[in-house]
């Protein structure tokens, strides 16, 4: 199924929750903030959020450089 990640189409397996999706990208859970359909998903609720077709995901990774 297809979701939109930062405005770009991306394929995910049906049934994938947000925590699994983040891990699948090789990202550490603490380095990203994620909105699904314009609502921030708190860290401790990521396992409960199962991605749905057409979901609009906005992901921002913390930046430490300067």
């Amino acid at each position: 199924m297809e979701i939109l990640v930062n405005g770009r189409a991306e394929q995910v397996e049906p049934g994938t929750n947000l925590a699994q999706w983040i891990a699948g990208k090789g990202l550490h859970p603490q380095q990203v903030a994620i909105e699904v359909n314009q609502a921030l998903v708190p860290r401790d609720q990521r396992e409960q959020v199962v991605l749905q077709p057409g979901d609009r995901v906005e992901m921002v990774s913390l930046v430490g450089g300067g």
Binding site: Q31, Q38, V63, G64, G66
Partner: protein
């Protein structure tokens, strides 16, 4: 129209949302800026040229040749002489002129001295190059109820977030804990472009002006700007009721003094820096350091690297031995730049 020193700020006061009222407020304002390198240099220049009343800034580094493509206050001669960035920045900012009172500190900033250095400043600005410092700034801003602007840059872009504690979200509403050491790329490992620095820092400086002259109108959003892909995004994020800083009012970064992070190993010309209590993936760290270090070795339970001329040994618990110095600030600078 003839121009004189008296109408120096004419063009910006003609911008109606800023106006002469904004200029008057700016000239009364006092700002603290942590870091005078890439982001800090552009931010400092913007504020001084705009005519902020007082700018206090601190930087622990000295200028090197790799700084010159993006650190706008420095020149070849500063790199040749390894001039402390705070002094080189002061000299460059003084040459601009204008009404700003400048106060430069060539020092490592941490929980031990941040409160004092930033005393009397209305807004705190982020020109730092590591997460430890940003979580420290967030703790101080929330605890002392002062606005601050988070800014971070890497590669071709970065993030900016103006923060009004207890009004909008703070850094820890979004990112409650810093990720473990070695997770994030740094400018030393993945590089950075001048236009990325300029974009991020200019946006941060704009938000600083807005917080000073029109705090209630400041957009309290996370903004992402990418000067390479030509992309802009904003995320409107609510405050997190369980936020460890602005929700629960715990300030561990501010309450962990320098003396608890480091231990000078007498007679060995070595400083030990304590980890953050999180296990480090030494293989991942070795891969990340490959670009920045002149030599990296993985030896069983430890990693050894040559960083900025210092032999560094890193253990799985995050503890590191920085050889070739007895100065805690120097050791922490290396730790925070490369290993945090």
């Amino acid at each position: 129209m003839t121009t004189t020193p008296d109408n120096r700020f004419d063009r910006q006061t003609r911008f109606a949302p800023f106006g002469t009222a904004g200029q008057a407020k700016l000239e009364q304002a006092s700002v603290f800026l942590l870091g005078a390198g890439a982001l800090g240099g552009v931010i400092a220049q913007s504020l001084v040229r705009s005519g902020v009343g007082r700018l206090v800034f601190a930087d622990r580094d000295s200028v090197d040749w790799t700084n010159l493509p993006r650190q706008v206050l420095f020149e070849d001669r500063h790199a040749a002489a390894s001039t402390p960035k705070a002094w080189a920045a002061l000299e460059a900012l003084e040459r601009i002129g204008g009404p700003t009172r400048l106060e430069a500190h060539a020092t490592h900033v941490d929980a031990d001295n941040l409160v004092e250095l930033s005393a009397g400043c209305d807004v705190l600005l982020d020109g730092s190059d590591n997460l430890e410092t940003r979580y420290l700034l967030n703790d101080l801003a929330v605890k002392s109820d002062r606005p601050w602007v988070y800014a971070g840059v890497i590669g071709g872009g970065g993030l900016v977030m103006p923060i009004r504690p207890n009004v909008g979200p703070c850094l820890r509403c979004l990112f409650p804990e810093p990720p473990p050491p070695g997770t994030l790329e740094t400018c030393d490992t993945s590089g950075v472009l001048m236009p990325a620095v300029g974009s991020v820092a200019s946006l941060a400086a704009g938000m600083a002006l807005r917080l000073l002259v029109d705090p209630a109108g400041t957009p309290l959003r996370l903004m992402e700007i990418d000067a390479w892909h030509g992309e802009l995004r904003t995320l409107s994020i609510p405050r997190h009721p369980e936020c460890p800083a602005c929700g629960k009012r715990t300030f561990p970064f501010l309450e962990a003094p320098l003396s608890e992070r480091t231990l000078t190993l007498c007679g060995r010309n070595t400083v030990q820096v304590r980890g953050q209590g999180v296990e480090v993936d030494l293989d991942a760290m070795a891969r990340r350091l490959a670009q920045a270090a002149s030599r990296v070795e993985r030896l069983g339970p430890l990693l050894r690297a040559e960083l900025d001329g210092h032999r560094v040994t890193l253990f799985r618990d995050g503890r590191a031995l920085i050889e070739g110095t007895e100065d805690r600030g120097t050791a922490l600078a290396i730790y925070d730049r490369f290993l945090a």
